[in-house]
């Protein structure tokens, strides 16, 4: 199945653009221009389905219903209509997300990646983010240089950031999760703990990014 993506879109220009964008992003797009032609395809042959609603032949919502009967594959709706009822109906019928036209190609790729990322977000015992590993059960961390000697506060910070891999986490959320408000639970104290954590991570500290206006993020890119 690899990175196969089904695109159901009747507009030739838009279809060509999307196919090109998806190919450049490393996906393997299969483009179908007609709703009737898309009816008989097996949705489980694809990792994501990108579905336009206004199609010749079968209406997009009917295709969505048909796919949902037999498959859990993520479906992303492309909608030109700025109509709440359509979006809500699509989501209720089992669509995972939607993109409203007009859109930049990058937006579509980002939403497809979000669809693919979503099921992996739920926790496992051992988190791996680039060179950094966090064992939630043993409460231990390690990097490319080996095991890290972390204080309980530093471990909590690292664990929360690893759980939200690639996402920015606010200072407030880190303070709430890692610091004792009765003692030193301030944002300044958090910065001190982060600084210490970075020095312990050594060359892998590059993964621990400061996010302007928000807080910190543990990036998977070493």
């Amino acid at each position: 199945m690899s990175n196969r993506i089904l695109l159901v879109e009747d507009d030739v220009s838009l279809g060509q653009q999307v196919v090109q964008t998806l190919s450049q992003a490393g996906f393997d797009p299969h483009w179908v221009q007609d709703g009737d032609a898309a009816r008989d395809l097996d949705p489980d042959d694809y990792r994501v389905i990108v579905l336009d609603l206004m199609l010749p032949g079968t209406y997009g919502m009917d295709l969505l219903k048909r796919y949902r009967v037999k498959s859990e594959v993520p479906v992303l709706i492309l909608s030109a209509r700025d109509d709440t009822a359509d979006k809500i109906r699509g989501l209720k019928l089992g669509a995972d997300d939607y993109v409203t036209k007009p859109f930049f190609p990058e937006e579509l790729v980002a939403r497809i990646q979000a669809c693919l990322r979503r099921p992996n977000l739920v926790g496992t015992e051992r988190l791996v983010v680039g060179a950094i590993q966090v064992d939630l059960e043993r409460r231990e961390g390690s990097n490319s240089a080996g095991a890290l000697s972390l204080t309980p506060v530093e471990f909590e910070i690292l664990a929360l950031l690893a759980r939200r891999k690639g996402s920015a986490v606010t200072r407030e959320a880190l303070v709430d999760a890692a610091l004792d408000p009765a003692q030193d639970g301030s944002r300044r104290t958090l910065d001190v703990h982060i600084s210490r954590l970075r020095s312990k991570l050594g060359k892998d500290a590059i993964q621990l990014e400061t996010v302007w206006g928000i807080g910190y993020r543990l990036s998977g890119n070493a």
Binding site: D82, T84, V99, F103, F104, E106, A168, G213, I214
Partner: protein
């Protein structure tokens, strides 16, 4: 057929039918009374000496006179006995008098069937023939046959003529009486016909009957139609206004976009080596165009409804992700860092998905559009479903305190909101403010620490 003629014909036909029915019933009743009287009189005559006279001389009985007037039997007077002729017969319906007519077979059949009195009309329908069996069943005078001039048949001029005369009178009376009704119906018709014209005259019908009620019903309908027409005209004017405004609003960025493209073409033709950043204004303008159309659509929806037309549970985490992904391409090209943070547990909030997304999109778009290169924008959702804050923080030029209240007035109707900031914050923030208000959210603007603007949507719980 006109109402007056229909009424006259209906009443006339009803009168004729009724009178003919009455004539028929009366004719039947008279015939019966006549037969009863003749039969009673015959028996009485024979019992009071007639039998002896008949049996003594059956060949000549009842004599030369032919027609006799029977004496009325004793008792209260019931029916005048009509003039008639009488003939005597034996039990086998044979007369000793050669002048007697042959006994009618129909009457013989009735008597043989057990009746004491039999009656029939003569073949020419002009006479009534009555046969009466005497209490004795022997001798030449045991059956009497009487012939008398019959009453007129019910379907005859004598019976029907009064009916037609009465019907004629009824028709004339109906034509006369229907006059005022017809006049009022015509008056109502004229009033209703005038409905489509410019005249706003109310429909009035005098009186207190069904026609007046019909007039009142028409008047109520007229008022309803007038109100609906007025509403339609208002909507049509609003639609024309909306199209005119939309055309104006779209033409401006479209002109700017065309200008950018023409400039690019001229620079390429002039041999300029263009960098990727040269296309940025055109991209930004095209995105602005899309956003503007969504805003105009949102404005039209907000204008059309007082409250919210949708109240579905919305995943705010997803809304934030979608809005940030949507604006990331432009932010990257402008070298503006656009980041987001959402809580681990998604926050659900009942509302209108499109409007909330549009409101947040407007705030984020402004934060990017007015920021400098290498600037920052952060979109942060914090809290829980009960109480949350959605914050858009930037380090751009901000908005002066004097302007803050004005740009978040929840009003975008009329041209002021558009013309004040025809190419920027005006409509977008007005819509954001209106959407916030309808969702029970607080929209606040404040300074960012270190410079810039922070816009917060607050659900205080």
């Amino acid at each position: 057929m006109k109402l007056r003629a229909r009424l006259a014909v209906t009443l006339g036909l009803a009168a004729i039918s009724l009178l003919v029915l009455l004539g028929w019933a009366q004719s039947r009743w008279q015939s019966k009374m006549r037969v009863d009287a003749l039969a009673e009189a015959a028996v009485h005559r024979m019992e009071s000496g007639g039998r002896e006279r008949c049996e003594a001389n059956p060949e000549r009985w009842p004599g030369d006179r032919g027609a006799r007037r029977l004496r009325r039997p004793p008792g209260p007077p019931r029916q005048r006995v009509p003039r008639h002729r009488v003939f005597a017969y034996d039990a086998n319906f044979v007369s000793a008098n050669t002048d007697s007519p042959a006994f009618p077979s129909k009457l013989a059949k009735q008597l043989n069937a057990g009746s004491d009195v039999a009656t029939d009309r003569s073949p020419d329908q002009r006479r009534t023939e009555i046969a009466v069996r005497m209490p004795w069943n022997e001798g030449p005078c045991s059956v009497l046959l009487m012939r008398s001039k019959g009453p007129p048949p019910w379907f005859s001029g004598a019976v029907l003529m009064p009916a037609f005369l009465v019907a004629l009178v009824v028709i004339l009376v109906a034509l006369f009486a229907a006059g005022p009704i017809v006049r009022r119906v015509r008056q109502l018709t004229d009033s209703v016909r005038r409905l489509g014209s410019e005249s706003e005259e109310p429909i009035q019908v005098e009186g207190n009957d069904e026609i007046a009620e019909l007039g009142v019903a028409f008047e109520q309908s007229r008022q309803t139609i007038q109100a609906q027409l007025a509403s339609l005209r208002e909507r049509e004017a609003a639609l024309r206004n909306y199209i005119a405004n939309t055309t104006h609003d779209v033409m401006l960025p479209l002109s700017v976009l065309q200008g950018h493209l023409v400039s690019l073409q001229q620079r390429i033709e002039g041999g300029d080596a263009l960098g990727a950043e040269a296309i940025l204004p055109s991209l930004e303008e095209s995105q602005y165009l899309g956003s503007l159309l969504h805003n105009l659509n949102a404005a039209a929806r907000l204008d059309a409804n007082e409250g919210l037309s949708h109240q579905d549970p919305i995943d705010l985490n997803r809304v934030v992700e979608r809005v940030v992904d949507r604006h990331q391409p432009i932010a990257k090209r402008k070298q503006i860092g656009l980041e987001l943070a959402v809580p681990e547990t998604p926050i659900e909030f009942p509302g209108d998905l499109t409007l909330l997304e549009q409101a947040l999109g407007n705030i984020v778009q402004n934060a990017i559009r007015y920021n400098r290169a290498d600037g920052h924008v952060a979109v942060i959702l914090e809290g829980s479903a009960k109480k949350w804050t959605l914050r858009v923080v930037d380090d751009g030029p901000g908005i002066s305190h004097a302007d803050r209240e004005r740009v978040v007035e929840p009003s975008f109707r009329g041209s002021e909101a558009r013309t004040r900031h025809p190419h920027g914050m005006g409509l977008g923030l007005h819509i954001a403010s209106d959407v916030a208000k309808r969702h029970g959210l607080r929209l606040e603007l404040r300074d960012t620490d270190g410079g810039g603007l922070t816009v917060e949507l607050i659900h205080a719980g």
